[in-house]
């Protein structure tokens, strides 16, 4: 069983690597800054909403792109939502793919859209896994009686 200082070090290293690798950007730090004693689960709450919302959007996108006659305005609208919420929580890589995705929507390029759907799904799954791992580390620290280090 790792000690609190060891867990805290792991947390700092993991958070730093997530930023360095571009999975998370400064907006995620903004969320963390908003968490306080009156709202100790704020980040988990918002991110959980993001996960729920994203999974719905991904399903809607798959359905929309499977139609015989694809409504690209509708597809674009879903991608716009996905880009927005991803940016708001700091999921930078997901948001970046959404930008390309919107371009393909504008061009009504089905192949491009389908490729982007795969890509955005992959990036989403990656960031979801990483955030879940991060929250898991936080839980371990708290359960061991420690506090979550503040990241500057």
């Amino acid at each position: 069983m790792a000690s609190v200082p060891q867990l805290q070090r792991q947390f700092i290293e993991y958070t730093t690597s997530l930023h360095n690798e571009g999975y998370l950007d400064d907006q995620f730090s903004q969320l963390q800054k908003l968490q306080d004693e009156s709202n100790p689960d704020f980040v988990v709450e918002v991110v959980s909403l993001y996960f729920e919302d994203s999974e719905k959007l991904l399903n809607n996108l798959a359905t929309a792109l499977q139609q015989k006659s694809v409504d690209y305005k509708q597809v674009d609208s879903h991608v716009h939502q996905f880009k927005g919420s991803s940016s708001s929580i700091g999921a930078q890589r997901v948001a970046s793919v959404c930008v390309h995705f919107r371009n393909f929507c504008e061009e009504k390029n089905l192949e491009g859209c389908l490729r982007c759907l795969q890509q955005v799904k992959q990036e989403y799954i990656l960031v979801r896994n990483k955030l879940e791992a991060l929250f898991g580390l936080e839980q371990q620290i708290l359960q061991a009686g420690g506090s979550i280090p503040m990241m500057e």
């Binding site: 907006q27 908003l34 918002v46 927005g84 919420s85 708001s88």
Partner: protein, 144 residues
């Protein structure tokens, strides 16, 4: 920890309008962290209903039921009625035209920004919204 006691009227009441659930939650938290009372609406129609701007709603100088609003912050891109159209309606209202309206958008389009400012928007904020953006707004509100 310092506790400040506010009279009901001293805490600014902000109406936040955004069709994106995550953004709504984020803006709400940002405003609450900046000591504002927040009401959220998921689209412009709901916002209009809340403000008493829909046709056939009675317009009175108190804006009914303690719904006095000190600021409205709205997303630009929303289904149905856009934030710009909502801004227009607010500015056309004798009761609400002096309430500051802030527009948020994820897209940095100069024409759009100018259009909103010319229509009387207090400020245009680029998303994602940050604590610094809201703190700036809050400082402005205390001057009112």
């Amino acid at each position: 920890m310092s506790i400040e006691y506010f009279e009901e009227e001293d805490v600014p009441h902000v109406l936040a309008v955004d069709d994106n659930l995550i953004d709504r939650k984020l803006v709400e938290k940002l405003l609450k962290t900046s000591s504002c009372r927040v009401t959220t609406a998921e689209n412009a129609m709901r916002a209009m209903e809340y403000l008493g701007l829909k046709e056939n709603q009675q317009q009175n100088h108190l804006n009914g039921n303690g719904r006095k609003v000190n600021m409205i912050i709205t997303d630009y891109c929303m289904p149905g009625m856009t934030g710009y159209e909502l801004l227009q309606k607010i500015k056309e209202s004798a009761v609400l035209k002096d309430v500051p309206v802030v527009i948020m958008s994820s897209e940095n389009i100069p024409n759009r920004i100018n259009e909103c400012l010319e229509k009387g928007a207090e400020r245009f904020i680029l998303k994602p919204v940050k604590l610094a953006d809201v703190k700036k707004l809050r400082r402005q509100l205390t001057k009112c």
